[in-house]
């Protein structure tokens, strides 16, 4: 029995209610964050978080604690009971998950779990040493996360996950390039190679020129399309947003909205992502076909939204922990199908004349209903001229429609990259998107910014 499941079952036993479920998160992680080629924010975290939900006479209350001794769990049980007793009956509550077999998934690597702070510092040093001509900024991080859900229904599931990421911004005053890599196996990553990719990109960004804002044909590297996709997903591929009419897909399921080359799934069982066996209500993960050859098919669901929708809907296993369920379910294992292009250079040939985008910065959803997202490009933006990636350009302000971008796909690489999407706020929960590089005929630039570099 894992530590997380042991704690979950202790907390269920401590609960004061007709019914209760508990999700537990146990984290041990290290973060060797570097800037100007020196580690400056090295952070080691160990923590255990217990979220307890009780049902008392149809009233629901939650409490969370990291005090995991008997006294702490008893206090959490008391707080949850008080929360429930203070609330009216919750007619939207969908009940607790019954025990059900959860799939066997990967996602845990003993060698990654065994990495020490010295190993993390060494990996950071390898990345730094690989880039003598630029300052290196970013991090090497690895961690072990144990999740467990248990309940009075007899549910008892647990999973251990490892994750490791290296992020590299190679930069000087007038140049900057970016690369990153992530996996649940540290042996998949070569920190020095990631740093060199960033440095090679940076060296090409000197002397960036201006460009006239317009809607461009564009190539987006996996780092860029991943971020746009996730922002779109957060606001539109969420069944709560769908039901409330806030999603781009509200009223549009079944319609052909995107190019035929756009197929999108969420699949927690896919070992190429960060595999997950169950969600934070203990519901087994179900693969969801979200877009099939351009046709919008579905979004992801939790128990609450499935009940709200009715008509036989069931949870697809995408719930957050109870207090976070107000956001609705989230697709943490998105994967876009690849295409036939052998490289980004081949995508540039398809584009002909346009722009090449490595990475984006500080996205904001301007209009979630229409899927319009704004942000800046950075650390590797170039012109594409005559089918070749040519000269660097300054950072570009884009305000673009994700649906138009996906409807205008011109090509996708066959190779796909898992891109980390966690910024490591609060409890560690590894997730990312598995995406190809894409070419599109619709990427709208509305302004220009400063040049690359620090």
């Amino acid at each position: 029995v894992s530590r997380a499941l042991e704690l979950a079952e202790q907390a269920v036993a401590a609960a004061q209610g007709d019914e209760a479920d508990v999700s537990v998160h146990v984290e041990s992680s290290g973060f060797a964050r570097y800037a100007a080629s020196a580690v400056h924010q090295p952070t080691l975290i160990s923590d255990e978080t217990v979220t307890l939900r009780v049902v008392r006479d149809g009233r629901v209350g939650c409490a969370t604690t990291n005090r995991t001794d008997d006294e702490g769990l008893a206090a959490a049980a008391r707080h949850a009971a008080e929360a429930a007793d203070s609330s009216p009956v919750d007619p939207s509550f969908a009940g607790l998950q019954e025990p059900a077999p959860v799939p066997e998934v990967g996602g845990y690597d003993a060698a990654t779990a065994a990495l020490t702070p010295e190993d993390q510092a060494e990996a950071a040093a390898e990345a730094i040493a690989a880039v003598p001509d630029f300052g290196l900024y970013g991090y090497y991080t690895s961690g072990v996360t144990e999740m467990a859900v248990a309940s009075t229904t007899g549910l008892a599931v647990s999973q251990s996950m490892t994750d490791v990421s290296v992020l590299a911004l190679a930069a000087s005053g007038d140049a900057s390039g970016y690369a990153e890599a992530t996996s649940w196996r540290a042996s998949d990553l070569d920190p020095a190679a990631v740093a060199r990719e960033a440095a090679e990109k940076a060296a090409r960004t000197r002397g960036a020129g201006q460009i006239e804002p317009q809607t461009f044909r564009a190539v987006l590297e996996p780092y860029a399309i991943s971020e746009l996709l996730f922002y779109f997903a957060f606001t539109s591929l969420n069944s709560l947003a769908l039901l409330e009419g806030r999603s781009y897909l509200s009223g549009r399921l079944g319609e052909k909205l995107f190019d035929e080359s756009f197929t999108l799934r969420d699949d927690g069982l896919d070992p190429e992502t960060y595999p997950k066996a169950f969600d934070l209500e203990g519901v087994p993960k179900q693969p969801v076909l979200i877009v099939e050859q351009g046709v919008a098919r579905d979004v992801v669901w939790d128990r609450r939204t499935a009940k709200q929708a009715g008509e036989g809907r069931v949870s697809t296993g995408h719930a957050l922990a109870p207090p976070g369920q107000a956001f609705g379910p989230i697709p943490f294992n998105l994967s876009m199908s690849g295409g036939s292009a052998a490289s980004v250079d081949e995508l540039a040939e398809v584009v002909g004349d346009g722009i090449y985008v490595t990475r984006l910065h500080y996205l904001g959803v301007v209009d979630p209903r229409e899927g319009i997202i704004t942000g800046m490009t950075r650390d590797g933006t170039f012109r594409i001229e005559g089918g070749k990636v040519t000269t660097p350009v300054v950072n570009l302000r884009f305000t673009t429609s994700f649906p138009a971008l996906a409807a205008g796909l011109l090509g996708l690489t066959e190779e796909r990259t898992l891109v980390n999407r966690s910024d490591f706020y609060d409890e560690r929960y590894p997730f990312g998107t598995l995406v190809p590089a894409v070419a599109t005929d619709s990427f709208t630039v509305v302004g220009t910014g400063s040049g690359p570099g620090l």
Binding site: F31, A32, A35, A36, A38, V39, H40, Q41, P42, T43, L44, S46, D47, V60, G61, C62, A63, T64, N66, R67, E82, A83, S86, S87, D90, S92, P117, E118, A124, A125, Y137, Y139, A168, L169, E244, R246, P323, A326, H361, Y362, G364, V366, P368, R369, G375, M376, R378, R397, T399, S401, D423, F424, Y425, D426, V446, G447, T448, G449, S450, L454
Partner: protein, 480 residues
């Protein structure tokens, strides 16, 4: 608790740390959210732990441990030292800290009614009542939320600092989402978007927000936006309300004046700054009307404290005076780098994170007159209210912000409501177009709890006081 911090410091120094500090944090927080007349969530959370930060041979190390025991404290210290030592052997430069007198004393937030002790039934009832007032046929979703937090933070350092601080926060907000029959969506919020506004004080702050009073207006405006014309594109005069000015100050003044960003330590994530160390006292940031002050002594501010998370005392510091950059937000490390005593802005969001340079309370100082006076001097323009979307580049120059609503200004008077307004600019050019700020009577402070920075990420709680402000010749109505 003081002893636990002492154990950690002793262990760190014995293991070779040249400097060490320890923070022991205990926090209890509550959040109540209601939606469409039902309780959406009621949660009550506790977290506690110790964070130990060390310098070994001039390199940082940090470790957090949830166990408030001598064993937990010593483990955190030894792990921090080991991590620092592993980095120190490869470091090319040594971290130096600007000297400060060892902090000593207590700080406690002032408030009449402990918000955590306010019964949950009362919190739920307040939310449901406020929601009721927003209901309209077009308003499909009404939401209300309240939050309450109590935190004790003990800080000790190997230099002899020893302080205990007790913080209390609470806040609330309401939102109405209107959806038209053909699927268009618009929203309005009060007192602020993104969860409302918070303050460091007792429950009387939430009661004083007047959610009931404002709810009917919020619902009516959300409904009216469905049939409002779109904000046109063009270059015009804008008057920005105090709530959106909070975002403007935060993103285009607060973050770029964080000295760690100026030195590049956030380059890979949050970004850097267009400012350089040598700009201090020389760079023209905006027009002569622009005065910005960092003030961790402001009553009710979420960034108010006795000492920051490395023991520097709270003090009021100008950041922009008469449009000229005169200050930075800084740490002891960055103060040493720039050679000026600017520290006092180091904050961590929990026991498990290293302190970073963060905003405290950053205010736009008021000008003169009323909002009506600002409008009166606009022949043709827009009045923009309540943040909806935001994005700014990695140097904090090029921004595009959207608000929930705009009203035309025609010959000094407010006219038609407009939907989906956006405006964009480049930071010093935009602030250079500032030609008036409303006076102290219009000055309002908002508290935000969602300021992100750092890797691993941290959420800072910060406050900004602003008045409505007027800017000439601004690009509005950006379209995709």
């Amino acid at each position: 608790v003081q002893d636990l911090a002492g154990h950690a410091l002793d262990a760190a120094v014995a293991a070779g740390a040249g400097y060490a500090d320890a923070r022991v944090v205990t926090r209890r927080a509550q959040h109540v959210a209601t939606k469409n007349g039902e309780v959406d969530s009621v949660s009550d959370s506790e977290t506690e732990g110790i964070g130990v930060r060390v310098l070994v041979d001039g390199a940082w190390g940090f470790a957090g441990d949830p166990r408030l025991s001598a064993e937990g404290a010593c483990d955190a210290a030894l792990r921090a030292v080991a991590f620092a030592r592993a980095s120190a052997s490869r470091a090319r430069t040594r971290v130096e800290l600007a000297p400060i007198p060892p902090a000593a004393g207590d700080y406690a937030a002032i408030g009449r009614r402990d918000p955590v002790e306010v019964p949950l039934e009362e919190k739920i009832a307040l939310c449901l009542r406020a929601e009721e007032g927003m209901r309209r046929p077009e308003v499909k979703i009404t939401e209300a939320n309240v939050r309450a937090m109590r935190e004790e933070r003990v800080f000790r350092s190997s230099e002899g600092a020893s302080v205990t601080q007790r913080f209390v926060e609470c806040g609330a907000g309401i939102d109405a989402l209107a959806v038209s029959d053909d699927g268009r969506v618009q929203n309005r919020s009060y007192p602020s978007a993104h969860g409302g506004s918070s303050a460091q004080t007792g429950w009387e702050f939430v009661e004083g927000l007047g959610l009931d009073r404002e709810a009917p207006r919020v619902g009516e405006e959300a409904a009216a936006l469905l049939s409002a014309p779109a904000c046109p594109s063009g270059v015009t005069t804008i008057v920005v309300d105090a709530e959106q000015m909070v975002l403007q100050v935060h993103e285009s003044v607060g973050h770029p004046t964080e000295l760690d960003r100026v030195y590049g330590t956030e380059a890979a994530y949050a970004g850097t700054s267009f400012l350089k160390p040598g700009d201090l006292g020389a760079l023209r940031y905006g027009s002569e009307h622009m005065n910005i002050t960092a003030d961790p002594t402001t009553s009710l501010g979420l960034g108010t404290f006795g000492w920051d998370d490395e023991g520097s005392p709270a003090r009021r510091q100008p950041v922009v005076e008469g449009g000229v950059l005169t200050g930075y937000l800084a740490s002891r490390e960055t103060s040493a780098l720039i050679g000026r005593e600017l520290g006092g802005s180091m904050r961590a969001d929990s026991w498990s994170r290293m302190p970073l340079v963060r905003m405290t309370n950053l205010h736009l100082e008021p000008g003169a007159g009323s909002l009506e006076d600002l409008l009166a001097d606009v022949d043709d323009g827009l009045y923009l209210s309540t943040n909806k979307s935001w994005s700014i580049d990695d140097k904090r120059l090029n921004f595009q912000f959207g608000t929930q609503v705009a009203w035309e200004i025609k010959k000094g008077k407010l006219g038609r409501m407009l939907r989906d307004p956006t405006y964009m600019g480049v930071t010093p050019e935009f602030w250079g177009r500032l030609d008036a700020i409303a006076g102290p009577d219009e000055w309002t402070m908002f508290g935000l709890t969602n300021c992100g920075k750092g890797q691993p990420g941290q959420h800072a709680h910060v406050s900004h006081g602003t008045s409505p402000a007027r800017f000439r010749d601004v690009q509005v109505g950006v379209r995709s």
